[in-house]
Symmetry: C2
Subunit: 417 residues, 2 copies
């Protein structure tokens, strides 16, 4: 993979140039993209454009990928749907402009599942082309995982960043709800949709997030005391597979050996309840958000999505209101977990990337934290016996993105040891 921090350090030290990086990326794309199909649109020639203003920013003129659920004024935007084939918005999504301002150069739109829901796209897993890269941020995770780009944006409404991060062996951060603006992304669920990003390492994620948000979130993995970790071994709607259970215990063992205090945490009833209502909020809001597409272009929606929108449209408002109340109670309860721990540790997914491209895997370990709005990171480093990545998810309390990233970088270093 291409580390943002390593590339910037190499440029700074004169060990490489932007032109050399562009050439390297161009070769990687030529080699891998025909199989991976990570991109819905790609403008590799931008890699060679000189852009002095961008080069002077903290992102140093590095290229990045934009999940095709975000509007871009200078590249087509399809939201993963044939309804929007060739569509050209007039403006950028807010995070795209913010990233340009910080010196990033958008060079491609990465493939998303249809409107960031569950219908898979054609993208393949960079670690094993017979397996799904996960979804819905399939192309962004695959492109970063294959070393085609140093970073790329994704979104998460249930588990659309943590899961592909885990499956592709890529670091990912889903910041606190609305730490980054969702303006200019195609909405599915306004209470859930969250902007995030993928990079080679947690420290890379933190650097990019700092550069575009103006927040002090940089970490390097060494300046952090061992965190107090609460490990969650059950309570989600799906059980972890044996290999993932083993990976979780490996992470616990290594963390303890490195000085972390690890305690078992059982999710309280309020959080089990919150976990169960996430689909209610997602489908109710999705049915409103995509009402136009349902009414005018139903024949171009996948059956999977159309069924979800029908389900969402049939949810009584009273059920939706009750789900929002349950979510609110869950958010208050979640805060109480952190009196004597810094982060929660869970698997990022039930297991490694499933074989085949017919499904994108389960968001069961992620949707609670999306609903709560808590920052999470996917920490790569472990694998199953077949060599497929198994990600560890850390969650911190709302607004403590610094803690999620610091603990993530610490764990990443510990797992690599």
């Amino acid at each position: 993979m291409l580390s943002v921090l390593a590339l910037l350090a190499d440029i700074e030290a004169g060990r490489t140039t932007r032109a050399a990086i562009a050439a390297r990326i161009g070769e990687a794309i030529a080699e891998r993209e025909p199989e991976l199909q990570a991109f819905a649109h790609l403008e590799t020639e931008r890699l060679l454009d000189g852009d002095a203003a961008a080069a002077a920013g903290p992102l140093g003129g590095l290229p990045f990928g934009v999940k095709d659920i975000y509007d871009t004024f200078d590249m087509p935007t399809t939201y993963g749907s044939p309804i929007y084939d060739g569509w050209r918005p007039l403006s950028d999504a807010a995070v795209v402009t913010m990233t340009r301002r910080a010196g990033g150069i958008p060079v491609g739109k990465t493939r998303t599942t249809e409107f960031a829901y569950l219908q898979p796209t054609v993208t393949r897993n960079p670690r094993h082309p017979g397996h799904t890269p996960g979804g819905s941020s399939s192309g962004s995770a695959a492109a970063v995982g294959a070393g085609l780009l140093p970073f790329a944006f994704g979104t998460q409404t249930a588990g659309s960043m943590m899961r592909p991060g885990s499956f592709c062996g890529v670091a990912a951060v889903k910041p606190s709800y609305r730490l980054l603006p969702a303006v200019g992304m195609k909405t599915f669920s306004w209470n859930l949709d969250t902007v995030g990003l993928f990079a080679a390492t947690i420290a890379d994620c933190a650097y990019v997030l700092s550069a575009i948000s103006g927040r002090h979130l940089r970490v390097d993995g060494t300046d952090c005391a061992a965190p107090r970790i609460g490990v969650v071994r059950s309570g989600f709607s799906v059980e972890a597979e044996p290999a993932m259970c083993e990976a979780l215990e490996t992470a616990v063992r290594k963390a303890e050996a490195a000085g972390a205090r690890v305690t078992a945490v059982d999710l309280p009833a309020a959080l089990l309840d919150a976990d169960r209502v996430q689909p209610t909020i997602m489908e109710f809001e999705g049915a409103a958000s995509l009402a136009h597409e349902m009414d005018r272009h139903r024949g171009q929606l996948s059956p999977k999505l159309a069924e979800a929108l029908l389900r969402g449209g049939a949810i009584p408002v009273e059920t939706y209101d009750a789900a929002r109340s349950t979510a609110h109670a869950g958010r208050r309860c979640f805060e109480t977990l952190f009196s004597d721990i810094d982060v929660l540790l869970t698997p990022s997914a039930p297991g490694a990337a499933p074989a085949g491209l017919g499904a994108t895997g389960s968001p069961a370990f992620n949707r609670l934290f999306t609903l709560i709005g808590a920052p999470t990171v996917n920490v790569p480093g472990l694998t199953d016996p077949a060599g497929l990545p198994l990600g560890m998810q850390l969650a911190a309390r709302f607004g403590r993105d610094d803690m999620a990233l610091r603990a993530g970088a610490w764990l990443e270093a510990v797992l690599a040891d």
Copy 2:
């Protein structure tokens, strides 16, 4: 004005037809629109289209207006900015599709101030063409106030519905935050932007809101016991003018005479603080939301907006975070006000519509409730000595849109007596 409920009753009773209503509206538009300039785009021929499916819905095929800050797939959408001249989105905003489903027929885009901020548009006040209609939902309030349409959508980020409702003598409802989805409207501030609507009476507003949201919110103004009212006479950043103070006391006197218990409420410190931070949140988020327009089309932004975006971009994230915490504390405090009252009563604006078209008036009496996310209504009925409307604002606790509407319809009837 054209009352939704009266029109539907007349159709039902055979006293009128949709064709007759269309003719009446067509004449009103021909007579008033050249002066008012309420519309950015108008397709009066749709008034005559037969649409059996729409006629069968609860909105009975009635025409409505859409503030030009919402996307429409079949009419141009400019957001009140020359940057988007002739722009044609591919899809409808969610509320537009929801209203079509309920049997409404969108016949025009109503003028908005530039990106729903403070730079006035050309629209005039229907009650006095030398005065502003208020903003940012200028065209929607003017069109309903002049009897050109039975209802129209607006948005409110500070005071963009209550203020024009007050100035134009039109009933308006700003529902609880996200009761109606903001999907497909051009975002200024994601924590503040709220979808609402104008109609001839509060009962009309309630009927339309029920029809499109699927919530039981209908009122008729007679089935409601006299509400317990807390009147707020001070604490906002601007003082009410003498005529408005008199109108407020008239409303109090009439309400008491009709059986309401009216008590004086002083806004607690937490709400005074919240009121003061609303501009911080609005400008910080506006600078992110309109980052693309600022970077690529700055020459086409008004100086007023460009300055606000510069101010917003200069707000430190720590200041913004503190403002969000203050808002959160304000929301909790607000709930405590309602232990023995049903609604708060305040002026909807400092006074009548200011003379001239150079400014849209002050949102000082509205921005707190927008920030809190509480439902508010503008109750028309009173006027100043010159005959210009003076609106009364009622606010209920979050989620109690039913109470805001019931009390609003009750007060409307009381003021009309």
